[in-house]
Point group: C2
Chain length 421, copies 2
């Protein structure tokens, strides 16, 4: 390392200063230029597929030698199909509507001043992620399209793959006339560099962690820079007394089991004591090979159900396990969600519109659904084109966050010489 | 203190838990109820004016005995006129448009799911402020109207005044049927309680400091809860070559001198080397009794100008002092602002529309103005009705922050039984 990078803080300050400079240039680039950079980057990823695959093979070899779990090895693996999908994803971001320059609102004051709020880039974004190397391309594409410089810090197990993806993308970005520093990778696997990045509020406007709960928890704990993230997805599906039994069974089984490892999966089912088909619902979950942990009333419905412990109501299983509780009407369901939920995604299933609206209004979560599977909690399913993450925080952006969440606004005031009396 | 309040952390946890509970009730209250609560609170403030004045007299006596400066004593003082103005301010917040329930956007997906983003309260807000007791009423009114519970921590010198204002407002709030805990005061002047409040991210969603730079700096340094604030207002007025000389003199003198202590005051004037009336401009500032600290070229314009030191370009004087520099065109002005500004408010004065648009586009500040005095940087002047503060941060809300900045949104998804494939 040279003088500028003697400590993790100095390294991050150097990267941060470069990012700030690049962000100022990027903020003045046209949307066509940004879209073109992503199209060229996508093509460069396709052209570099053999080099990326070779780099990934080296990562896979090291990871296997280091005893990584099969699940982690699968997340790390890049084959031709995954590289092609990554390139397609970058190209898709180039075709999304331009999030910048839109006039949010405008007004004219009695003194003749004309005010506008216009969308501008956020600035510099730090992404901290784990083994999936495609995040390198996905996150860089979204940040760049929204006019932001990005500093990427991937997992040490994916270092070769990430560098190969980064190198390919850079060739496209530079060919479009944009500065290379709009997308930087932290050039060390030293964990102290993550700590320095999390505290670099002078250089970084937002940190987005992408990975498991322990990564997110560490980032939230250590960061001095604002963090956009969700720690848990303890999501509920509440089956109201007036739910259609067929719909309820279909929705609950899908919400829990379509993919058990996603953050939008339902983890707790609340069944209204006046719902007549509770037994059929619990049976449908058990028949679909889902373990059911329930209160006494639920266990009475099917002997295969086992007792729920106190902490089951606060557990994100991310597995084919569900906690099930009988509740005394909507207020009881809403109170359970307030006490045990994680403000991510919660749903009511009912044919009664008034009760549905009561639930939509009262449940304080980023996403509240009526007669839909909680597994729809996803930026792509919401029509946002792509998502950088889902936020359970309440400031700035909530729920699925895509291009708009990577922007801010400024006030423009146009006058004709007005002085303030 | 009882068992629940043995430590500052326990005290804040108790207040925070009460605030969360009150916020959930407030979120379900109608807008009429909230407006009514503020009208009743305003009337209660008027009715309690003698008691508030008596409490303030006790604060003033203690403050004088403790040797507070005349400026601080003036900020602390409440006379009949100020109490009436405070009550009027609370009533004015009751007449602002309801910031909640608005549908930000909506869409229907190909699978029939109907999505909406609707404005909802932020939750619980902490306000940390200094001597002006009217902040107790102003901040409480804005937070309540936006559906939020608030925890107030005023300065120890204003403790009696703040309690009297709080007690009066509560009587109105409770008379409207809202829970008393929607507006709480930290019941101790122990400074450790501030530290605990700043770290209470489980109970508080946003901290807003109101006061001088040292207060804001301490809050930004210590807080783990997100902070909405501005530390500095190092604002620039750039006089372009094509500025109208009369307008330039009037705007610069107003921007600097109308009130020197406000955060929107211009602190540095950048004069284009090709502006023909530079001498007249500097003379106008000096004639208006403003000290001018300039570079060599500026000193050459008027012998009363003194040399600027390096740190003058980074100084918020909040006084009748201005730093003045000659620049080589718009790029140079923009570069100076990028290097020395605080991203608060910056203005260009020119008759050339293309240069004005270049400046509006390139300057990365919360507010960028063309042919207007930077002293207009104020929520009231922007037509927002009232402001809780001005933010130079980039997330959530930027520039003057009023009711909308005290809200967030949630996603509502209405389906007809859709499962995710």
């Amino acid at each position: 390392m040279n003088d500028m990078t003697q400590t993790p803080e100095m390294l991050i300050a150097m990267l941060g200063a470069r990012a700030r400079k690049a962000a100022a240039i990027l903020a003045q680039a046209t949307d066509e230029q940004k879209a073109q950079a992503l199209k060229l980057a996508a093509q460069a990823l396709r052209d570099a597929a053999p080099a990326i695959a070779a780099a990934n093979a080296r990562d896979m070899e090291n990871a296997a030698a280091n005893g990584l779990s099969p699940a982690m090895l699968d997340r790390l693996r890049l084959d031709a199909g995954r590289i092609a999908a990554t390139a397609d994803g970058v190209e898709a971001v180039a075709t999304l509507p331009n999030p910048l320059g839109a006039i949010i609102d405008s007004s004219e004051r009695p003194n003749g001043l004309v005010l506008q709020r216009v969308r501008v880039p956020l600035g510099v974004i730090g992404i901290i992620y784990e083994s999936r190397p495609n995040v390198t391309a996905d996150a860089a594409a979204l940040c760049l399209r929204a006019g932001n410089a990005v500093i990427l810090r991937g997992g040490s197990e994916a270092v070769e793959s990430n560098r190969a993806i980064h190198a390919a993308m850079l060739s496209g970005i530079v060919a479009a006339g944009l500065p290379a520093d709009v997308v930087q990778i932290v050039p060390t696997t030293d964990r102290a560099a993550v700590g320095a990045l999390l505290k670099a509020s002078e250089f970084v406007d937002l940190i987005i962690p992408r990975g498991g709960k322990s990564l997110v928890a560490r980032v939230q704990e250590e960061a001095r820079v604002p963090v956009l993230a969700h720690l848990d997805g303890i999501n509920h599906s509440y089956v109201h007394a007036a739910a259609d039994p067929d719909m309820a069974c279909a929705l609950v089984v899908n919400a829990k089991l379509r993919r058990t490892g996603v953050c939008g999966a339902t983890e707790t089912v609340l069944i209204d004591r006046n719902f007549a088909s509770a037994g059929r619902l619990v049976q449908a979950l058990l028949d679909a090979k889902c373990a059911v942990r329930g209160d006494g009333d639920v266990q009475a419905l099917d002997t295969r159900a086992t007792p729920a412990a106190d902490d089951d109501w606060d557990t994100e299983y991310l597995d084919a396990i569900v906690s099930v509780r009988m509740v005394d009407g909507p207020e009881d369901a809403i109170a359970h969600i307030a006490a045990h939920g994680s403000h991510h995604t919660d749903a009511i299933i009912t044919e009664d519109a008034a009760t549905a609206e009561q639930f939509l209004n009262a449940v304080d979560s980023a996403i509240v659904m009526w007669n839909a599977s909680t597994q729809f909690a996803d930026g792509g399913e919401f029509g946002l084109g792509a998502e950088i993450g889902i936020s359970t925080g309440r400031l700035h952006a909530r729920g699925p966050v895509a291009l708009e969440g990577l922007t801010t606004y400024k006030w423009l005031v146009r006058g004709t010489g007005q002085t303030r009396p």
